[in-house]
């Protein structure tokens, strides 16, 4: 048995890094800031590797936990600081600390010339702290600590360039939209407290497991409210609107928080609560539909965006939709599997995009890129791995995880299963298209980059950047790219299904967590079907590649002429279906208008203050009193008090008579 107390170190080390850099960083040299930030994320990553080895050993317990001090305690209810680790947590921990460390490393190069370097790393470490708390938590409330905390870190990092209004707005928007999700999460917890008297996972889930006749009802309500929370954090319809704007943050932040880790928290939460969701087919159905709808909706927007980071942002929303879909059809393992592979290739793609932006001194518009294949070869080759992986072309990671989701959707007992599968397959084609579109536009064809105009400009619209000209990134940035590219290539092999000659190790690994899951019910498939569907997915991915090839490589201009045939539709999609505008017009503006006119002018000025100004008259009639008051004369007050006291005494005397 391993000692468990070192589990505390996993979050506390990054927190120490945050405190050090946050308080002293301004005065420390950059190398020391870097050293602190890297050290305090490298050690937890190593600890997680050790933990993994310990828990994979034969005879090791399926989960370990550690209980610390009491956080909230009232009669009849309490919450402790307590962590627990099972195999699901292990995967999350490995992704968070592993990818997190790589991105820290990359940031040391990427942010090297930025003002506020120390602040950046302090926030990044703060994020790591909250994210590890989130995945280690053994209760809903402690998970919520991490949940809100990563939101805070995200807010601070999106608004890192706080002098830019767009960045400050994006940060605020992210926080508030996430709060809408948290509103659902909180209500779910209130219901849990009401009905279970506890927020500890083991308590709640064992109570549900012990009562097989509990279905729907409150469980559905709780599950749906949790979905609201998950939709906020994992950027699903209708709360996805914050994520594209979050690209205002520095690119490593987009990679770490808004692609690989934080945004997957919603999927993690649903998977963690699978016992609950399994009892509510209704809630699961909602999850599946939201996921599928988000996947195709975001992919369609991603197909026409010009900003390289925006394409990746919508791609992330879309991929998160796949994971939602997986959870919604009860295929939690597939969801977590895709979460993991997505963390690899999407972090890679963002970091690669960052490397491109770095090379072009801050240019993010793909219309001004092109022909970078030979200029930044390491970035090109590593990013190619990411593109192929996400496009779902075997044998790279994305193929296996995405295909598993599609297969599970197809065979799920959900009456819409086949439709969900179809949406997923179409989305897969779109994904392949927009990713190869990005690939061709960035790395192939003529260079459309104006080197003279842009030379000397910093990336992310900020801070100037000594070296001009297109240049490959330093090793500290390409190193993480290479590692992530490797993971994107081989990451899928842990989940190769038997039909393709694999052992699906991840399924066995997660079996103790999801054993009671609905996956048992989805045995309607057959190996022939699975193989057939896999072929369909591959063909669709190749089709996407082919279309992108002909549009953006063989006959550039096809896309433009196609767009000009349906200008209204094209601009609608280009402008993201104007959902932000819709929310503004339907929700925010009316709310503020109503507040100003009805609450402000009518109720507060009219009624509430009218009350007091029954007053207008009263005030004047008390002018005698008021004149006294303005004198500020203490003696007059003593007088008033004495008068009052006299009145009291008189009252008492007569009161006695009155009483009898």
């Amino acid at each position: 048995m391993m000692p468990t107390s070192y589990l505390w170190l996993l979050p506390l080390l990054p927190f120490a890094g945050f405190l050090l850099n946050g308080t002293l960083g301004r005065k420390l040299p950059r190398t020391l800031v870097t050293a602190i930030a890297l050290l305090f994320t490298a050690v937890p990553a190593a600890l997680v590797a050790w933990l993994w080895a310990g828990m994979k050993a034969a005879g090791a317990p399926e989960s370990i936990s550690v209980v610390g001090s009491r956080w909230i305690a009232i009669t009849g209810f309490h919450v402790d600081f307590a962590f627990s680790v099972d195999h699901l947590t292990l995967i999350m921990l490995a992704v968070v600390t592993g990818v997190g460390f790589l991105i820290h490393l990359y940031s040391a190069g990427y942010m090297a010339h930025e003002e506020g370097y120390w602040r950046f790393f302090a926030y990044l470490n703060l994020f790591m702290f909250f994210m590890t708390v989130l995945v280690l938590a053994d209760s809903f409330l402690l998970l919520f600590v991490g949940w809100e905390g990563v939101g805070l870190a995200s807010y601070l990092l999106i608004g890192f360039y706080f002098r830019k209004d767009s960045a400050a707005n994006a940060g605020k928007k992210a926080f508030i939209v996430n709060r809408i999700g948290d509103f659902g999460f909180l209500l779910a917890m209130f219901l849990l407290v009401q009905h279970f008297g506890s927020l500890t996972f083991s308590h709640v889930f064992s109570a549900i497991a012990a009562n097989p006749d509990w279905h729907g009802g409150v469980l559905t309500a709780i599950a749906l409210l949790l979905v609201v929370g998950a939709a906020g954090k994992s950027a699903q319809i209708p709360l996805y609107v914050w994520l594209p704007d979050a690209m205002e943050g520095p690119t490593p932040v987009s990679a770490l928080i808004h692609a690989a880790t934080m945004v997957t928290a919603g999927i993690y939460m649903v998977a963690r609560c699978h016992t609950l969701f399994d009892r509510s087919p209704y809630a699961l159905g909602v999850v599946a539909i939201i996921g599928a709808a988000t996947a195709i909706f975001a992919a369609s927007i991603g197909m026409v965006q010009h900003d390289i980071k925006r394409v990746l942002a919508y791609s992330t929303v879309s991929q998160l939709g796949y994971m939602f879909l997986a959870c919604g059809v009860g295929a939690y393992t597939a969801g977590v599997f895709h979460l993991m592979t997505h963390a690899f290739f999407k972090a890679l793609l963002f970091l690669g995009a960052g490397s491109v932006i770095h090379a072009l001194s801050g240019e993010q518009d793909m219309r001004k890129m092109g022909g970078l294949r030979t200029r930044i070869p390491v970035t090109f080759w590593t990013m190619t791995m990411g593109v192929v992986a996400i496009a779902g072309i075997p044998p790279l990671a994305g193929f296996f995880s995405k295909d598993e989701i599609l297969y599970q959707a197809f065979i799920s007992p959900n009456p819409l299963g086949k439709l969900l599968w179809l949406v997923g397959v179409v989305t897969a084609g779109m994904t392949s298209f927009y990713m190869f579109r990005l690939w061709f536009k960035t790395f192939f064809g003529e260079s459309r980059f104006d080197e003279h105009a842009a030379a000397g400009h910093g990336h992310d619209d900020h801070a100037s950047h000594g070296h001009g000209g297109v240049h490959e990134s330093p090793a500290i940035m390409t190193g993480p790219l290479a590692i992530l590219a490797l993971l994107s290539i081989v990451g899928g092999f842990v989940g190769v299904p038997a039909v393709l000659g694999g052992h699906n190790e991840i399924e066995h690994f997660l079996a103790p967590v999801f054993s009671s899951g609905a996956e048992a019910a989805t045995t309607a498939g057959s190996t022939g079907l699975e193989a057939g569907l896999a072929v369909v997915s591959v063909l669709v991915a190749l089709l996407g590649l082919g279309v992108a090839y002909s549009f953006y490589y063989r006959k550039p201009g096809t896309a433009a002429s196609l767009a000009s045939k349906a200008p209204a539709l094209y601009s609608l999609v280009l402008e993201k279906y104007r959902i932000d505008e819709l929310y503004n017009a339907v929700l925010i503006t009316p709310l503020l208008m109503l507040t100003r006119i009805v609450l402000g002018a009518l109720v507060d000025t009219g009624l509430v203050n009218g009350f007091g100004a029954l007053s207008g008259g009263t005030v004047r009639s008390f002018s005698f009193l008021s004149r006294r008051m303005q004198s500020g004369n203490l003696r007059s007050y003593a007088g008033w008090l004495a008068l009052g006291a006299a009145a009291v005494l008189v009252f008492m005397v007569f009161g006695r008579f009155w009483a009898h």
């Binding site: 305690a73 909180l186 219901l191 009401q194 009263t618």
Partner: protein, 525 residues
């Protein structure tokens, strides 16, 4: 030496002695604020005696550090003071806020210092007196006393021409219901022959105050009315925005919330338990509405102080909602949130005051981009913001979570609706607080920051903000330290037999066979 029987008198009357001393001293240099600082610090240290020697295992309903001396034979007035889990931390909080109030006024009050600090100390006497008195007559004397210095502070030291109107408004709002309260207190005396709160509470628990329920109702309303205006409970907040907007920072810090909320818990709930429970649904509704109302109006303000004033209305409404649920979570959370509001409000108004000292305006439109220039100010401002919006691991979350959770457990009609309504407050509060942060600190430099040279916190200002920030974190991480005293009171008041008629099938999707009550107590302490 054992202070236990004199400590409450010491706490209450040191500031009075200080006030007298200040009245005698010459108004020269920093002498007056200096003496005021010493007096308030000594008082604060004295208040720390209470948690250090508090007996946490004492049964609910017992008062500690008590002193009970007959004062006037007829009418029977006793000098009866005592502290329990409800009042203890409020006393310590008031003790802490007083030196902070002196320090925040250190430079900003340059004229009529003597008047200012004398009144400030008198205000302190009144507050302490209110928290420790267990005799209604003595209590009422302090209650009335609390009106006077505040009114003069607003009228004399208000920041605009509107100050007199604001002061009169405040006075009338507070005075008229207080006069009615006096009638109620006298009726109680006449009926029961005692002013003693402990005796009255005992009688009330045995339904022994009066068989005349109509009269009891009227008298309970006279109590609740006076307290509700003081809190203020929506829609009785007509005085609030003007008073906050005019009053100097030190006065604002002690203006809102705790006196009224404490009084409701001690006197309304203690002496009129049945009436309080009957009227609870109304107050729960007003609390939930007040949360949303305050937050929405805060969202559209251009003036930072008015914004914070409406925000304050929202925060005290959280407490109102919580305590009237009569659940353990609601009352515990409500009391905790009362302390949080005191701390958070103090921090927020101090920070706004510091900005006002620098830039001479509270108009949000004239700010912008200060984060670069004032890194310490923005740090404390963001911490305070996070506490106010209820970020977990800071104090605000603990209180808010318990209150809303209590609201969900309460069996009141439409409790689900009110819980949902109140919980939208977490979205709206984030919206207005983050908007304020953005407008002051982010974006390009605003009008004022362009013309005024930047000046970050000096040592005195650090001294003001560190204790509050540290407390916010500590109270967010180790809440049981504070909660255990509070919980003895909350558990005694609440009627937490899980009696809430939560019939899932009624408001949830069909197909439910979830048991009516799956309440399993997983929380053995």
């Amino acid at each position: 030496m054992n202070f236990d029987h004199s400590i409450l008198s010491i706490i209450t009357f040191i500031p009075l002695a200080g006030a007298v001393l200040l009245a005698l001293l010459p108004d020269r240099g920093k002498l007056i604020p200096g003496v005021a600082l010493v007096v308030t610090l000594v008082t604060f240290l004295a208040t720390l005696h209470l948690p250090a020697h508090f007996n946490y295992s004492a049964p609910a309903g017992s008062f500690q550090f008590a002193v009970d001396v007959p004062w006037v034979a007829s009418p029977a007035i006793h000098y009866h003071l005592g502290v329990d889990g409800l009042s203890m931390w409020l006393i310590v909080l008031s003790g802490l806020l007083a030196p902070l109030g002196v320090l925040i006024s250190w430079n900003s009050i340059a004229e009529r210092k003597k008047l200012f600090y004398t009144l400030f100390l008198l205000q302190q006497v009144a507050m302490m007196g209110i928290f420790v008195s267990l005799d209604l007559f003595v209590y009422y004397a302090f209650w009335e006393l609390s009106l006077v210095p505040m009114t003069i502070l607003i009228a004399t030291f208000g920041r605009t021409e509107n100050r007199r109107r604001a002061a009169i408004k405040y006075f009338l709002y507070a005075f008229i219901p207080s006069a009615v309260l006096l009638v109620g207190i006298l009726w109680l005396y006449v009926t029961t022959g005692t002013f003693d709160v402990v005796q009255l509470t005992g009688l009330a628990a045995a339904h022994g105050i009066s068989p005349n329920t109509a009269a009891l109702w009227l008298v309970s309303l006279s109590f609740l009315g006076a307290f509700a205006v003081k809190v203020p409970v929506f829609p009785l907040h007509g005085w609030l925005v003007d008073a906050i907007s005019e009053a100097p920072t030190a006065a604002v810090m002690v203006l809102v919330g705790k006196l009224g909320l404490y009084s409701i818990l001690r006197f309304s709930f203690g002496i009129f338990p049945d009436q309080s429970r009957e009227i609870a649904p109304l107050l729960i509704a007003l609390g939930a509405i007040g949360i949303v109302y305050g937050a929405l109006l805060a969202l559209v303000q251009k003036d930072m102080k008015k914004l914070a004033a409406f925000g304050t209305l929202g925060h005290v409404s959280v407490v109102v909602l919580g305590i009237f649920t009569f659940t353990i979570a609601g009352i515990d959370g409500g009391i905790y949130q009362t302390i949080n509001e005191g701390l958070g409000g103090a921090a927020l108004f101090m920070l706004l005051g510091l900005l006002y000292e620098r830039y001479g305006t509270y108009d949000l439109r004239e700010f912008g981009g200060l984060a670069q220039q004032l890194p310490w100010v923005v740090t404390f401002f963001v911490i305070t913001t996070l506490s106010v919006v209820g970020l977990p691991m800071l104090n605000g979350f603990v209180g808010e979570f318990l209150v809303f959770s209590g609201a969900m457990q309460s069996g009141v009609t439409h409790h689900v609706g009110f819980t949902v309504l109140a919980t939208t407050g977490v979205i709206l509060t984030a919206a207005y607080m983050l908007t304020m942060v953005q407008k002051i600190f982010y974006g390009s430099l605003g009008l004022k920051p362009r013309t005024v040279p930047p000046r970050d916190l000096d040592a005195r200002e650090h001294l003001l903000l560190w204790p509050v920030a540290v407390l916010m974190l500590a109270m967010g991480l180790a809440s049981p330290y504070w909660m255990r005293a509070i919980d003895t009171v909350g558990a005694a008041i609440a009627d937490d037999i899980p009696s809430s008629p939560a019939t899932p099938a009624v408001y949830m999707v069909p197909g439910s066979n979830f048991p009516q009550h799956a309440y399993q107590d997983g929380g053995q302490k």
